[in-house]
């Protein structure tokens, strides 16, 4: 599914109209439809079917369509193939011969392909006069199969009222169309009638169906000029479509534009970039680290409110008592602890105990400065300067002279970014010094171990490592228990899965890191799934039922 991005393809399609989003979709569908009808290269079997007293020409069953889609578009799931078929039908490229509702079903229902004349890519926007002509002509032909449906009869009545004054004109046009139709071969007429009806099913859908011709208004401007009548009726009084504003003339590229581009490109060439291997490693490592926090993948503890209708999880998150999982997250990166209100408070308290809280307070003050409304900025700048940087400041922070110079210059202008440089310095200082010490501190570790009794003679670092490893394993093992309901091969987990929270001491003692189900614990990597696991994943991991 995912492809490499070795070649950065040149982008640029000559015809702007062809590149409008709708056209791209239409051409793709037309490509599929054309292949589908090509019997030389394995298209669907289109045939004439005998029925009661007559023949039904040129039809294909829904099943055939679905099968073909599965085979030729590499679709594994028939539900997906039905969905794709229905999307193609909804656009008007294929239609059921006995229904106004444009979907595809995986059964013996008969479908027919739409004539290229009626394809949406021709940018049809038929007017109501056209529709009136169509409904009118249907009432003129005495055929059971052309009888109007209820909603069509209602539409006709409404149109007759609306076009009362030019109804004679419409009537004449309808008569003319009937004459033209009569000249055609009977079988051909059957096919054309159904195609015409399908066209109107797209442009005047059955009430309750989504109108696929409704455009995203943001993309309308790039459409080709619409064709207003399938019957060749042109009217001078036709109003301009309110939505078709002619596309804006493309601004010509000036020398200045290109010079800017050259400057930009040069800057990019000078940029120091990382190798793909490093980048990939970083992205994957991030995911692996955060998977246990991702409720989409790892069931949330105590429960996901959206599933259980119990908001306990949110209440816990709002409380000042952080869970061990949350505390562990503060250790992932400096940003993590700064993001979390409770983490910040803990870090601040630690810094206060070391008499170096001014750094964090400065950093927070500058963050707050940037959130102020414009009119309050100057005042806040002055306050921060006085508190942290002015000679004799009560909470003096330590900046190198260069940074101090820049900042004192900036203060004269007093903008929101006055302290950017200083803030960056202080951030780096905290990150490399205070943050690292905080993670090693008693305060942090007590939180991490949920105020457990202190570890034995082993160094704090190693016991921390051991603990976090075992917590991770506990999680993996617990998930495995979910996959295999009996849990027979993991008696230890069997005991715990009776609803005990992971941060209770018992949970830690019970884990046996090496006794996992074939779990290879190489440097924290997750094991590759086997096919049976994937089956379990589908069934058990998410407590969902297939929708419809």
């Amino acid at each position: 599914m995912a492809q490499g991005s070795g070649d950065q393809r040149a982008v640029g399609i000559a015809d702007p109209e062809e590149s409008s989003p709708n056209m791209i979709v239409y051409r793709k569908i037309e490509d599929i439809i054309t292949k589908m009808q090509d019997d030389k290269t394995g298209g669907v079997p289109i045939r004439t079917v005998k029925s009661f007293l007559s023949k039904i020409p040129s039809v294909v069953t829904g099943t055939d369509i679905v099968q073909w889609l599965m085979k030729n578009l590499s679709i594994e799931d028939p539900v997906e193939a039905i969905h794709v078929g229905s999307l193609i039908a909804a656009q008007g490229y294929v239609f059921p011969i006995s229904d106004h509702v444009l979907t595809v079903k995986d059964d013996g229902t008969f479908y027919r392909f739409q004539a290229p004349y009626f394809w949406p890519s021709n940018c049809w926007e038929p007017e109501n006069t056209d529709y009136a002509i169509y409904l009118c002509k249907r009432t003129m032909q005495n055929k059971a199969r052309l009888e109007l449906a209820d909603y069509e009869a209602e539409n006709l009545a409404r149109l007759q009222r609306a076009f009362a004054r030019k109804w004679e004109f419409i009537f004449m046009q309808a008569e003319a169309q009937v004459k033209i139709d009569r000249k055609k071969d009977k079988t051909e007429r059957k096919i054309l009638d159904s195609q015409e009806r399908a066209f109107w099913d797209v442009h005047r859908p059955v009430p309750g169906c989504v109108n696929t011709t409704e455009m995203d208004i943001r993309k309308c401007r790039r459409l080709k000029n619409p064709q207003k009548s399938v019957y060749g009726v042109t009217e001078e009084s036709q109003s301009q479509s309110p939505v078709h504003i002619p596309s804006q003339p493309i601004r010509k590229t000036t020398k200045e534009d290109v010079r800017k581009q050259i400057t930009f490109l040069n800057a990019q060439i000078d940029r120091h970039c990382l190798k793909m291997s490093k980048v990939a490693e970083s992205l994957i490592a991030y995911t692996e680290q955060y998977v246990e926090y991702d409720p989409l993948i790892t069931p949330a503890e105590p429960s996901n409110p959206w599933v259980s209708d119990d908001i306990a999880l949110w209440d816990i998150e709002m409380s000042k008592e952080p869970s061990q999982q949350r505390v562990k997250r503060w250790g992932f990166s400096f940003d993590e602890i700064l993001k979390d209100q409770v983490g910040r408070d803990q870090f601040l308290r630690f810094l206060e105990s070391e008499f170096s809280s001014e750094n964090l307070r400065f950093w927070l003050a500058v963050q707050d400065l940037k959130k102020q409304p414009l009119q309050d900025v100057a005042k806040r700048v002055e306050e921060i300067w006085q508190e942290f940087l002015a000679p004799g400041a009560p909470s003096a922070i330590n900046l190198d002279s260069h940074s101090y110079e820049i900042t004192s210059q900036n203060v004269k202008d007093g903008g929101r970014y006055t302290f950017e440089d200083a803030q960056e310095h202080i951030y780096k200082l905290m990150k490399s010094d205070s943050y690292a010490r905080f993670l090693r501190s008693n305060a942090y570790q007590d939180l991490l171990l949920a105020k457990k009794k202190p570890e034995s003679e082993q160094g704090r670092r190693t016991s921390l490592e051991k603990f976090t490893r075992s917590v991770c394993c506990w999680r993996r093992v617990r998930m495995a228990a979910a996959f295999h309901p009996r849990g027979g091969f993991l008696p230890a987990v069997g005991k715990v899965s009776g609803g005990q929270a992971p941060h209770r001491p018992d949970a830690v003692l019970l884990t046996v890191p090496t006794a996992g189900p074939g779990d290879e614990d190489h440097a924290g990597r997750r094991r590759r799934s086997t096919s049976t696991d994937r089956v379990s994943l589908r069934g058990d991991l998410v407590t969902v039922k297939e929708k419809e």
Partner: protein, 319 residues
């Protein structure tokens, strides 16, 4: 013009060819660093497998297509805006509507929840972004407190509060993005560079960063420095409009969804597209993308022509 005099010898054509050769050189340089494919490295991560999603809540109340929605930081409230001109604030957990306002224009294409949860912003065909404070006083008419903040010369396609209720970032059909001070309505910074409508934007999830990414009808995704207004990186590999952009949770990469029926992942450190997500059977464009918390799952919304606020989606594993 004065500057023309300095560069008399440069014609438009020669400048263009210089730009072209630089593009080629840039591509060469980047290709040298392309020593492995992301999906190869990702093989060691357990795949999501066949993921089935269940609708948890259906919020009924809009009369026409829902064009935009945004979550509140409390993880349960939502603001949504619709083609019929209505903007509704829901407690999606209980499915109750808490506030509703009718905009003077239809097609409200953008809406956003303020970080404090005390206000919402919205706009669309009116070319403006307006902020409404949320009040629980039954006597107060929400529409009366409306504050007009942003003014563009074409439709508003996206808006987002920064990490404060006091600044709003907007994207517009006029090809620009802009940063505004909410209280005064003053323009703080504008961002020029897209060659066509800007359709989407996303702020970088960093505590210290000042950047955001935008995507447009010019098929480009551009990363901007909010402070200077300059474009710092640009990516042009999509074949059609970019409808949605979202940062990877670490902030080092972002994903984009486009009308070319693909989603792509761009890494900022490699300055390159690193993955394409597409399937032969996916014909229609992606209208909206988002990452799960860990980045393992990329959720793509396509064919969203429903009237209800419902999650009907298709997931492409982040391989």
């Amino acid at each position: 013009m004065a500057t023309d005099g300095l560069h008399e010898n440069e014609t438009l054509a020669s400048l263009k060819s210089e730009a072209e050769s630089l593009k080629g050189k840039l591509e060469e340089e980047r290709a040298k660093l392309h020593d492995v494919e992301l999906h190869q490295v990702a093989e060691r991560v357990e795949a999501l497998g066949q993921f089935v999603m269940k609708t948890r809540r259906t919020l009924k109340g809009h009369g026409n297509k829902v064009l935009c929605m945004d979550w509140c930081k409390d993880k349960r409230r939502i603001v949504s805006s619709s083609q019929d001109g209505k903007v509704i604030v829901w407690d999606s957990f209980t499915t109750n509507k808490e506030h509703a306002v009718t905009m003077p224009c239809t097609w409200v294409m953008a809406c956003a929840y303020a970080p404090s949860g005390c206000a919402i912003a919205c706009g669309g065909l009116d070319n403006k972004c307006s902020v409404y404070p949320l009040t629980f006083d039954k006597n107060e008419n929400m529409a009366a407190k409306k504050k007009s903040v942003a003014m563009h010369t074409n439709y508003l396609s996206a808006c987002s509060f920064t990490n404060s209720d006091m600044q709003i970032l907007t994207a517009s059909g006029d090809g620009t993005c802009a940063l505004w001070d909410v209280e005064s309505g003053q323009l703080l910074q504008s961002f020029h560079g897209h060659g066509a409508d800007v359709l989407c934007l996303d702020l970088a999830p960093s505590e210290t960063g000042n950047t955001f990414v935008s995507g447009g009808c010019d098929k480009k995704a551009m990363v901007w420095d909010m402070r200077s207004g300059q474009c710092v990186q640009a990516f042009e590999t999509h074949e059609s409009d970019i409808n949605s952009v979202r940062y990877y949770p670490s902030g080092d990469a972002f994903a984009s969804g486009s009308d070319d029926a693909t989603c792509r992942l761009y890494d900022l450190r490699a300055d390159r597209e690193v993955a394409i997500y597409s399937k032969e059977s996916i014909i229609f464009g992606a209208s909206s993308v988002d990452f799960s918390l860990s980045g393992l799952g990329l959720i793509v919304f396509s064919e969203s022509t429903h009237r209800y606020l419902r999650i009907e989606s298709e997931i492409v594993p982040c391989n």
